[in-house]
């Protein structure tokens, strides 16, 4: 059992999280892993629950996600984006896999990992300051746009969920998503 030195420590910021992930990747550092687990696991579970996953399944899948984080830490590239964005992609893929297994346990294989693919020519790097700006941008969306963005990320069936939450015909959902994303993009201009 590694020493958990971070118990009671203040919540790590984006730079600290990226540094810990790099520690896990390069030194297989279990203390850093423990701190990442403490920070991310409860948020991952909350994310899966927001998507409507039942508590027991969300608990199991969160543990899988955290195991994947340990195994795939070598794919994390701090020049490409923050630790939270990288963890988000792991949760996203785990959720897709879980839905697939539910339909058919015999399914084989998986789409190639993003990181196995050709590195991007034009990447963005998000430092702590940028992440704060990103949070600010999300918070300054109007309530409807904020709800659209949230449902887009949390829901399994975002178009239907947005239509029902905002009482919109399904046909107009696309254009509302487009408007909300345009607003968000405008606020994020300069992040890249």
């Amino acid at each position: 059992m590694p020493r958990v030195t971070t118990l009671g420590a203040p919540d790590p910021d984006a730079a600290a999280l990226a540094a810990m992930l790099t520690q896990v990747s390069e030194a297989r550092d279990r203390d850093a892993y423990a701190a990442l687990f403490k920070h991310f696991a409860p948020k991952v579970k909350a994310y899966l629950r927001r998507g409507g996953m039942e508590a027991g399944e969300a608990e199991e899948l969160t543990q899988e996600v955290m195991l994947t984080l340990w195994r795939k830490a070598g794919y994390f590239d701090p020049a490409r984006g923050g630790a939270a964005a990288w963890v988000f992609t792991i949760v996203r893929n785990a959720r897709i896999d879980a839905a697939r297994r539910q339909r058919d346990v015999k399914l084989m294989g998986a789409p190639p990992e993003e990181a196995d693919l050709a590195p991007s020519a034009e990447t963005i790097s998000l430092n702590a300051e940028c992440q704060a700006r990103l949070r600010g941008a999300l918070n300054s969306l109007n309530p409807e746009q904020k709800q659209i963005v949230q449902l887009s990320f949390f829901s399994d069936t975002p178009h239907a969920a947005i239509a029902s939450a905002l009482n919109l015909p399904l046909g107009t959902v696309k254009s509302r998503i487009r408007l909300a994303m345009a607003k968000l993009r405008l606020m994020l201009e300069g992040l890249s």
């Binding site: 423990a34 340990w70 923050g82 399914l107 294989g109 990103l134 999300l138 998503i177």
Partner: protein, 210 residues
């Protein structure tokens, strides 16, 4: 120069993981070759990260950390065996997109004058309707109406559809409201395409010289 990208809501669905597996492969093939969409996807994933960070934590079971810790040294599961891939005798310089790693690629077969079809089977989502299409130069392709979204990533050559010109790297996104009539460029066209709905034959019904 890429001039046709996935729509913002399709790119969003891809980044959030709600796009159907077949469409996801075609969008991934586009993004891999498009620096603009790579940057947009990275931005959307950063938004996803911020959403994750903004959630109120939900406590895990008391033994959760110990259970994961006990599994850290478990052997990593074996990757599945490489899928069958037909030799499609592709033009020199054309490699299949990395997004198709892990996919089974069927032989070309003739489905009409100047038109060949290769089934792309995704072992993780075999019900998805994904295909490679090879259209001879100048062939005109008539659409019939279909139930849902259709994505077409140009891998080689190009086509025009009366509205726009699509070259290698461009993606065409059509839905039930789109009516167009693609005509392959003189050198022909090889595309990766996905159609919503179950497995069925391609949507081309009639062909005639352009």
């Amino acid at each position: 120069m890429i001039s046709h990208h996935p729509s913002p809501e399709t790119l969003l669905a891809h980044a959030t993981g709600t796009l159907a597996a077949g469409h996801a492969v075609v969008v991934a093939a586009h993004v891999q070759g498009c620096s603009q969409c790579q940057a947009e996807q990275a931005r959307l994933e950063a938004v996803g990260g911020a959403m994750l960070e903004g959630l109120a934590p939900e406590p895990l079971a008391a033994e959760a950390f110990a259970r994961v810790l006990a599994r850290l040294d478990d052997p990593v599961p074996e990757p599945p065996p490489p899928p069958r891939r037909a030799d499609l005798a592709l033009p020199k310089g054309l490699d299949l997109p990395a997004a198709l790693h892990g996919a089974e690629i069927g032989n070309w077969f003739w489905i009409g004058r100047g038109l060949r079809y290769s089934r792309v089977r995704l072992p993780w989502a075999p019900e998805q309707n994904v295909m490679l299409l090879k259209v001879a130069g100048g062939r005109k392709v008539l659409h019939h109406s279909h139930g849902g979204m259709e994505l077409t990533q140009v891998l080689w050559g190009g086509f025009h559809d009366g509205i726009g010109q699509y070259g290698a790297g461009d993606i065409g996104e059509a839905d039930e409201t789109t009516t167009h009539q693609p005509i392959a460029d003189p050198e022909g066209c090889i595309c990766l395409a996905s159609l919503e709905g179950g497995l069925r034959l391609p949507w081309f019904t009639r062909l005639r010289a352009g």
